[in-house]
Symmetry: C4
């Protein structure tokens, strides 16, 4: 299964409408067009993939109780974060190396996300520059996910460039100070085939495996790093990867302007708690002090509804967008947001919720059998 | 898989005795004779079909505790609702477009249901008129399931016609103000091939997909609609689709004469609570003020027993009847009611319950392992 | 699959040592040599077979906690019931029509059970007479399972004959006043091919299906029937099929000398509680007033251990014995008791229990995950 | 499947680097090179293998909650037991007859374990002598697992030899006074093909099945045996196979210097509690009075992390080492410890734990759904 050399990596170059019914279709179709090593890197996770699979299954640990006679019509999905209005509470999660899925990489994704009138989160390990991604964003808000260098001089330079390109928030990924045990990547012999211009000052990416890439960035993250980023950038800082109340309190106390609940899509600690099962504990701890973003395992509009009901303000999606990017470029990306939007709208109507705030007032029903 | 044009839809035209052992046999046999799009529409549900499948599995969340030495012989299954005596506590649920399963549509079904001495619930989206269905009903009680028009003039006219054809109760379906995310229908490209005479004043049905049909009816249902129907018709009004105590109280307070617990057979909100798991909460809230009907997932007489033990007065069945209609016309419909009746009778005998009231006094045993 | 006429039924005629490792092997091998209708009748159960399958799975709802340093060597499995010493706490359950599995029917089984120095329970629907079975029993204790006639004159005559052949206890099966919904029997068109001499005064069995056979016996059993049998026979009377505390109390109050926990091997009420899950409730209610026998789902010596730990005094096995009867006649029957005895002995040693009384003092550990 | 004579047993003779990703790979590859009877003996367990399989699944009954901003870098896995420093908290469990997997048997294993700078536990049923194993151990600490003779003279001689070869602790296996019901061994007709020099004074092993081998050793173990070994040897004595608080207290009161939680890899009592589910109860009872070792079901570094979080001081691994021994000799053994070490290091980093003591302060999150 090993690819002796995936530096000759040829990514898809599709642009146009995808014929699909749901995100599982996208995954199946994308498997056929993304090169093996790239597809493995994108789709797989840590260890036995148990946490990855439970991330999705966990949404059935709590169930929606449909409501009737609630006088609902044409639910309103718009919301606001840090003063920016967006058309739906679903944003693009940071994902490394979109170039694995499409020759235009983050430029195509950012364009599709902007067409969906929502937020694109730029990964430190993007294959395109801030400038290129910003230009593609068409004025829609963009955030920047930061893997810190061990050198704060480099960190300041990266933050300077992010700000000069208009990013509205910094997302400090704190749950990936090293890579998880990604066995699929070992099986395929995956190395990153493309450069990572944003972090070029501390690593190239090209020809390196994931452990090497993560190894180049800073391991010993602490509350002081949150303070540093917040102070230096003046932007709201999300701490991403928070999975318990204690860490939520600590992050806010160190100056975080947002809490991002995630287990990195099941890519880091297998045998760790499904992200959805951590959400309520964290959201209760945050207690509306700062916005809560949730990701990991979101494949349906019903999942978005449930995450918001459990306390998320925004829900981020990753893999489904990358699959749609491979299959349909920026238009595909726009379509996948429409898929989520349509199912969320149906769910809101049938659950008796006119607005996002109404969803937050909803209580899910525990389900011990799933 | 898409059918470019299912307006040339040819429904089965069977009449006679079916050779079957249980309702799963019926489903398997019906799959072979009902055209793909029609079968998909009838059998499938929302999203991942999780709620649809859990509807059936949920009956094993609570178990029957058989009783002995209870002096039982020939249990009596008869019961009464709104003054009408019926031979068993099992009635026909409202199901759209029986013409998908049989050329004689609701006329054949109503005849079979009448032969079983129980209640037929006429769907707004029936392919036959009130007059035709009423004539086939042979004097057995019929109820009318109402999808309201946005125009109350039309609503009054439909109610007038229902009453003039002798319906005894109006069933306001409140859990389907829009259609669920029916992915199977998208895969087959299903559109309704037949007219819907009862609601012809506000939609035709022919050539429209489900979203279009639901879209023509009223979305913003509220307690005022219950009041309107009850006041105008003078008939007892069920609110159908109630899944929690709060909605049960609200429905009764707005004048509902009955509460119908259902999740629309798993066709609306996937990731919603299995209907059986909602039943006790609702029945306890109703507290015998009005009759409680239950549907969704009922495939066996043991399921009927359990639903009554949890608080249902009547249990409605849908898909199994439609399969039997396709396979054996009115005689098939009669047979499927006999199947349920026989298994219910055995269960009553072995559970030490002589009457339907005895079942209601029974307590099921919780089962956390299923 | 239907057999138009199984009156030409040809049962196996094996006698000799079986090569098997466990009872699942026996089931698989027996399937190949017992005629389809007979095998279906023996092996199958009610409805979806859910309760039948859960009967076995339920043993993993509670787990053995092995004990060490307990100074155990050569555990003693002997026990006593109604003054009879038996070599192990495992007895033969009543099973209808052993002639389906072996031409020598109950004569071969009784001989094998006697060789195992334990109790044989004669079914009312045996294919051999009291006299034949008694002669084969070689002095080992025998009990008689009674399906009552609607006519007490006939009942007295049957009890007279039972007593004159030395039976030590009457087992009133109270959970089968009618047959369960045995769908396999319908699929194979099964009718009993052989006569039932013990109950010949009220039915023949030959050519009748199970519903007809059960229909000939008395349906409306009550505490008065327990009193009648106890008074007339002067023997201890088990009530078999008790699954809750209330029925245990009622049985003892009506004069029962024993309580037999069983769900008839999952053959009566599908969706009913697995028998093992009912055992502790019943045994606690009995509180040592009378002996408790347990059956349903027992396939291993570890199951026997668990049942005794939950309160059973004796454990009865059925299907595995019938399979061994088909495969090896009386010698096969003896072997299957040895299988259970060996595994029970190992389990007692490793659980730190020297005697059957020690097992009763053991507490199992609940296991919510199985 | 039976091997008429496995005395012509030919074990693998590999030495060198194994190409594997995880321990499941090792199992699959080893199955192809170890003779059937030997592989069956090593890999299988008691009864239905339920406890064996649940041993692994049970690690998902409690989940890791990843922690962020914890200032972790290069976690320190070293620990100390009885004054010996080892490089990681993972040691080699006692396993009988390594000669089944490799011609050099325990000599190769001990060499590989020593290269991993951790403890090798010598089984009484080793195929090599104390002298040979000690020589291969290269100064790394070795412990001796003791199956006692019924003759204390022999026991003293064995302990004398153990001590003269430098073992640092005696591990009294108390959960295997007889063998479990190992059905696979019956199916293959397995007998031990090789001599067992350490216990040659009371049995040879060659040509005997497992029941015979266990039968030669002492069955009636009691606290007096712990006292005897501790007094005579002057070494710390582990009691191995403890699965509940009561036995932990009893072992320590009889002089045990360590408690070893194990269910013998699911080889003894099927339907017994998964070992991981017993760990916390035992560790809480021990309350740091003596070291706690844990084994049974450990296949990943995440399992090691969880066992330590639940109270283990050391975690022992068995089958994965034997597979690696078969595939790569001493080098393979070293590699499998590296596999565990690497995954443990990743898990410590991502769970916010710098040291083994930090892991012990961690609380896992219960997971009722797995």
């Amino acid at each position: 299964m090993k690819e002796s050399n995936n530096l000759n990596y040829v990514a898809p170059n599709n642009e146009g409408k995808i014929d699909f019914i749901n995100t599982y279709d996208l995954e199946e179709m994308a498997r056929n067009i993304i090169p093996t090593g790239g597809y493995g890197y994108i789709s797989s996770g840590a260890g036995d993939l148990w946490t990855l699979e439970q991330n999705i299954a966990a949404f059935n640990h709590k169930l929606i109780v449909p409501r009737v006679l609630a006088d609902i019509e044409k639910p309103d999905m718009s919301t606001t974060v840090f003063g920016d209005d967006i058309s739906l509470p679903i944003i693009m999660a940071p994902v490394a190396s979109h170039g694995l899925a499409h020759v235009n990489g983050e430029v195509a994704t950012a364009k599709g996300v902007a067409a969906s009138k929502t937020i694109f989160t730029i990964s430190s390990y993007a294959n395109k520059s801030f400038k290129e991604i910003s230009a593609a964003g068409n004025g829609a808000p963009q955030w920047f996910q930061f893997y810190m260098s061990k050198d704060n001089g480099i960190n300041r330079a990266i933050l300077d460039e992010a700000k000069s390109n208009g990013v509205k928030s910094i997302v400090l990924t704190a749950d990936a100070t090293i890579g998880g045990n990604r066995e699929m990547d070992k099986r395929t012999g995956f190395v990153f085939p493309l450069g990572m211009p944003i972090v070029a000052a501390y690593q190239s990416g090209v020809g390196q495996n994931m452990d090497a890439v993560y190894g180049s960035s800073k391991q010993a993250l602490s509350p002081r790093d949150v303070e540093f980023i917040a102070d230096y950038s003046g932007l709201p800082v999300f701490v991403k990867g928070i999975q318990c109340a204690t860490d939520a309190h600590a992050a806010i106390e160190s100056g975080a302007g947002g809490v991002w609940v995630s287990n990195h899509g099941g890519r880091q600690v297998d045998g760790g708690r499904p992200a959805f099962d951590s959400l309520k504990e964290v959201a209760d701890a945050v207690n509306k002090r700062v916005p809560v973003v949730f990701d990991s395992g979101v494949r349906r509009g019903t999942h978005v509804f449930k995450a918001i009901a459990e306390g998320a303000d925004l829900v981020a999606i990753g893999r489904p967008v990358i699959y749609s990017l491979a299959l349909g470029g920026s238009q595909g990306v726009n379509q996948v947001f429409d898929f989520f939007k349509n199912e969320l709208a149906k769910t809101m109507q049938l659950a008796g919720t006119q607005t996002i705030e109404d969803i937050k007032k909803t209580t899910l029903s525990p389900y011990p059998w799933s």
